[in-house]
Amino acid sequence: MTHKSIRIGGLARVEGQGSLLVRARAGQITGLELNIYEPPRFFEALLRGRAHTEPPDITARICGICPVAYQMSACQAIEAACGVEVTGPLRDLRLLMYYGEWIESHALHIYLLHAPDFLGYDSGVAMAADHRPHLERGLALKKAGNEVVATLGGRAIHPVNVRVGGFHRVPARAELAPLAERLRRALDQALATVEWVAGFEAPEVEHGYRFLALRHPQEYAILSGSVAVSDGTEFSAADWPVHVVEEQVPHSTALHARLDGATGYLVGALARYALNGALLNPVARSAAEAAGLPPVCRNPFRSIVVRAVEIVHACAEALRVIEGYAEPDVPYVPVEPRAGVGHGISEAPRGTLYHRYRLDGAGLVAEAAIVPPTSQNQARIEMDLRDLIQPRLGLPEAELAALCERAVRNHDPCISCAAHFLDLHLDR
């Protein structure tokens, strides 16, 4: 038995810092760790003592890729603690802004991070030499998403206009007209994207996933609902702490989450599609059918198609919101702080994002808890890798390492929430 240790570039095209360690002996994997060494920033600790109005701006800084998700989960958790529910046009504007983030984040992942894997390039920009029109279409889509967020939020990264109770300022109907124009073009580009990625050759792999996602009676849930699990369990946001428990593992600064005692469930696009696919906008549903997606997709290499379908959905739904929008009388509803606990859950582009705050009588945060999608998916990504690598241990090391990186990128891990040398140690 020879021991081999190779260092292969990095776990690139993911957001954050991490690495992967695989050990195998005599044809059996003996150890596998997705190692997250993103420096801890201690958000849950530094939020203590802050005013109830501050978590949306502070927690946005957890992730520059999906700040809207953090703002929305934070707002809803605090509003729940204060006994307020935001409804009507203010909720519609939140949905619209969130659709913008889905479009931007998914377009970034599909075109700049994920597609290069299928087409054999180091980066999205490197694709430009041979696939310039495709890259330009991806950038145009991404830009459309960013414009939605910036129109409502002031800027695409760390928007300034979101507040507990609603917004600082709401747009007049006329201000949304140029966005509708952009979104109609984006919808066509999104449909073309589904067709494009549906043609990518994906390894024939299927995993026995246990999915978790928000579920809403009328919507392909993004902003609110109950929590649904593919085994039939369903629970309310307030019961999250009963079902989901985070634990620390030595090799990672991201915590691992357990669902009802078992580790390794999946959140994100595949989970949402499996649990809520029937509620997709009809245009997105037909695009999924035309792309040959089954009602439940268990091949993570096909998640790129599901994300493209979700962009179609986000564009179509954003257009629907704009069409029905009537400017609300007030930009926000007052949220008077009171002592209590509130839970807020929404669907970040990468999956379910949970916030909990306990406020004291003075309206200050006494305790904060945040469960980001990547800490929920980390154990499942390790299981994907085991399943994938075990039968392929005979492959040349470079090929195996590349496949591992792809398997990680399939889940669009956003490791800032909690990966850059891929260390593949093979002893076989």
Partner: protein
């Protein structure tokens, strides 16, 4: 990234403790990205590319603050392989939101978040890049502004200083034609003491500036604090407004301390 890379200046993007938002700003230059990629060889940019071109690099953009023992060593390496080093954003320039630990006990922080804090390697303070190595230019903002980022890249390619104003948000606010939220609405606003660059976004949305670009060149926080107190802000509120994304920048640190002391004097 393809082609005769050796002729074009080499650009590297590095990440330390951060949210990735400032480096994402480069990818958010959707219209300009193909041109930038044509003008420079993006040799090291892990978030966007698996390619890892060797140094030295003509221009390194550094995101994030220094918070771990490993990163203390890594920043020295980044400096050695970089002809020019520019920090991008509040974390790299001022320590970022994670510098709130500087006002607390980091072990206590770790014990709040982690059951086994001993597994977590972390430093007591979150420090800007300039605390460790010479920095050629600091671009501010949480996040940075993409027009300013393009200006910085263009300036370094041309061998000149970037044209980035050091005056206050108030100047941008007037240029934009905003109503002054502080004067007209009595909304607490850090615009008078905060560096321009965002385009006076918050006042344009009927909100007071919250200082995410850090202190302007000659801030008069004492005068502003007096006004903010007249508007009803309490001492803890004043301390919190300065202790967010640029808490350890000296003028903001002093402004918070001055608020605390003046209360003691009054009391």
């Amino acid at each position: 990234m393809a082609g005769p890379a050796s002729r074009r200046p080499k650009l590297a993007v590095w990440k330390f403790a951060s949210c990735d938002g400032c480096q994402l700003t480069l990818l958010d230059c959707e219209d300009e990205l193909p041109a930038v990629a044509g003008a420079v060889d993006i040799a090291h940019f892990t978030e966007a590319s698996s390619a890892d071109g060797p140094g030295p690099y003509d221009l390194s953009l550094v995101e994030g603050s220094i918070t771990t023992p490993d990163d203390l060593r890594r920043i020295q390496h980044v400096r050695r392989v970089s002809k020019r080093l520019v920090t991008i954003g509040a974390c790299a320039t001022a320590g970022g939101i994670q510098a709130l630990r500087d006002f607390a006990d980091v072990r206590e922080y770790a014990s709040v978040v982690y059951a086994r804090p001993e597994y977590v390697a972390t430093l007591a303070r979150s420090t800007p890049i300039s605390a460790h190595v010479p920095v050629d230019f600091e671009l501010r903002g949480c996040p940075i502004d993409k027009r300013q980022l393009l200006e910085v890249i263009a300036a370094f390619l041309a061998g000149r200083r970037p044209c980035v104003p050091a005056h206050s948000v108030c100047v941008e606010c007037k240029a934009r034609g905003n109503v002054c939220v502080l004067v007209a609405h009595g909304t607490p606003c850090l615009g008078p003491v905060t560096q321009a660059g965002c385009g006076a976004l918050c006042p344009a949305f009927n909100r007071g500036c919250y200082g995410c670009f850090g202190p302007m060149e000659s801030p008069n926080a004492r005068a502003l604090n007096a006004r903010l107190r007249e508007l009803g802000m309490s001492t803890p509120e004043l301390v919190r407004i300065y202790r967010t994304f640029n808490a350890t920048e000296e003028p903001f640190r002093q402004a918070a301390e001055q608020a605390e002391q003046s209360e003691e004097a009054d009391g």
